[in-house]
Symmetry: C2
Subunit: 409 residues, 2 copies
């Protein structure tokens, strides 16, 4: 194994918080493969670039000879939202959990070597807890500690319902660390509370506490909010090459540096140079983003796919044209195949966008229209409640690049 | 069975809150014995007059032909304080729970016919919950609902530790109602939150919700704070006749009416008449309190014991003397038998009072001395840290009536 000091440098690259470097170094000096916990939520199996930040850091650990413990959160996944108040956390069957975990692992395997990972379902230990155990675990946290978390505290202060069971989830997540005897837990900065709480539970049973290492949450394609599936501002790890490429070309210039640093293998020195040249006007941001897009498509598909995507993109926006013509669009458009009985029906534009897969929800569709980023055919749309008739060949477009031609199946 | 309307009148006598009378009447009209839940805390087996308020109301229900379900809270009793932060909730063994439950039931049997009660341990159903069940139950309550409780909310706002597990206890208590299919739950006004929450859980599983009926918490002997063992301002249901009688004679005159109404069978009309006569000066408050003390000693001991206690009291305070002489005190004093090796030792007065059973704690002893209610021999004590030598025949006295002569065994 590499020297502990050198490992430390790699492991803490781009980290926001390490608790603590001294403890981490001591663990590395033990010279054994450390156990690196990764918790997967089987109710949300679609991974995006935001997830890749942590996964890439885990890949580094794996390359250094450490042991990835991939924990499938089937315990809570099969509960869904037991208060029945949230539609976003449906109750999953055992089969759905397994199918989602499979989907999740397939995407993760684009980054990690899943053959070498230890895969565990947390129902194995959480499902075996007695109610006495649950109370003893819950007694390790105070309500004030829990409400000190940004998300819980905000909901409580805003009079949004916060179920008592939700206070148990971080406790169970912490107990996962005890069960797998985690040495390291990696994640986004929003996870630090849970990671630190796990340390307390581990100390409580006499285990050496895990080392939490957090990294930044990357902004979404809009550059405003954090990347998330529900906001629609994401690059999915399974997006087709052209879509992935086009989405990355659409980001604000200022994001290039951060995406490059956290989501690619481009060396730090090179990133800094690109940033400097962009700032001085020596490098066209478009070229820098093309570099970024090529790297990422190359990673999740292949260098060949990246070249092809770049060619298609260049053709579409040839000569620096900002807005391609209808013919070019039609050529580049993906098909959205709708149910046959929808043909000829009149629906709100917002609904049509959802049906065509251009928006995850009607409210998101309305937002897109309000921002002036939606076209029907060649005309820019201004009213999400405009009635449009679903016809074969109807062309819908969001932003510069996401074009769908409606067909019926 | 008695007519529902007449039953309603008896059952809701002195009630503060009934949720709702209409529902209660509907249940009574079903003509079956209703199931009346009573939860006993086996970590606090000493009952006092405060508890008798609810127990007497249950006795009324029992007399009307309804079924008392006596639930021993062994589930949480055996957990103690799992956070390890409170010394007042020690973890009990199965044997201690059983012994305490036995002690509890023996005291309850002074009021209820325990032969006819259904006795259950709540570990029977709570101990059988899976962790999934616990989460589903916890999901029925929000954190805001829980913090709306006076006690929880106050501790949270005062930055006192409030464990996450403590939010689970009212939920488990509510689930007791589901498990025994309670029709009615009786208790003090401080229980209304728990009682109402149980209704939600019952509705959740399709049960007709129980009817909570609450009654006032009676003030302690000091007339200031609610009666409680930890405050030392209580009349225990097992106090000896003289002590019980003396304590009741020591209450502020203003309490007579409330104690009579909530703790005795004296008819309402008579209570009101006594109150009127006391107000107009036609009845000496001392005589009214003698009536109260006789009633209560008669209930928990016997009419003969009540007469004897009254005689002893009258002798002690013959002729309206406010302060009896040493001889009279000695005659009336109970013995406090201390360990032989304590003889001749010098201790702080506060310690001596605890040893003699005149104060539950040194801090309470200090309070009594500060209030000017402690005598050593005939002299009033002013300093709880005065050193006194433990000798045979030492006379210690708290208030007018609680006198101990020190002996060694």
């Amino acid at each position: 194994m590499m020297k502990p000091e050198e490992q430390l440098k790699i492991i803490t690259r781009n980290a926001v918080h390490v608790e603590t470097e001294a403890e981490l170094l001591a663990k590395l000096r033990e010279g054994r493969p450390l156990r690196v916990k990764y918790g997967a939520d089987p109710s949300a199996p679609d991974l995006h670039l935001g997830h890749s930040v942590t996964l890439r850091a885990m890949r580094d650990l794996q390359d250094l000879g450490h042991q990835i413990v991939f924990i499938i959160g089937d315990f809570t996944g099969m509960l869904g939202d037991p208060s029945g108040k949230s539609q976003t956390r449906p109750q999953l069957t055992r089969e759905q959990v397994e199918a989602n975990a499979e989907t999740y692992a397939r995407q993760v395997s684009k980054i990690l070597d899943m053959e070498r990972a230890e895969v565990r379902n947390n129902s194995e230990w959480l499902g075996a807890l007695t109610p006495y155990d649950v109370i003893r675990l819950a007694a390790q946290a105070t309500v004030a500690q829990m409400l000190a978390r940004d998300d819980f505290g905000q909901r409580y202060r805003d009079n949004q319902p916060l179920g008592v069971h939700e206070l148990l989830y971080p406790i169970f997540q912490g107990y996962d660390s005890v069960a797998v005897e985690a040495d390291i837990e990696l994640g986004g900065t929003d996870q630090i509370f849970n990671f630190l709480f796990a340390r307390e539970l581990q100390r409580g049973v006499g285990q050496a506490p895990q080392i939490p290492i957090t990294r930044p949450l990357i902004p979404g394609l809009d550059g405003q909010q954090k990347m998330s599936k529900s906001l629609g501002n994401y690059v999915g790890l399974t997006d087709p090459p052209d879509e992935m490429y086009g989405k990355l070309m659409s980001i604000p210039d200022a994001l290039m540096e951060q995406y490059c640093r956290l989501c690619t293998d481009v060396p730090e020195a090179e990133i800094e140079q690109m940033a400097r040249e962009m700032a001085s006007g020596g490098l066209n941001p478009r070229d820098a983003k093309m570099r970024l897009a090529r790297e990422i498509v190359g990673t999740y598909h292949s260098p060949e796919a990246a070249s092809a995507a770049q060619e298609a993109f260049t053709r579409l926006f040839a000569g620096g044209k900002k807005d391609p013509g209808l013919e070019t669009l039609l050529e580049a458009a993906e098909e959205a195949v709708l149910a046959a009985d929808l043909e000829g029906q009149a629906v709100w534009l917002s609904k049509a966008l959802v049906l065509a897969g251009l928006a995850p929800s009607a409210s998101e569709a309305r937002r897109l229209v309000q921002q002036g980023g939606v076209w029907v055919g060649e005309g820019k749309a201004s009213d999400a409640q405009a009635e449009i008739t679903l016809t074969d060949g109807l062309l819908l477009r969001v932003g510069k690049r996401r074009v769908r031609v409606v067909r019926f199946g």
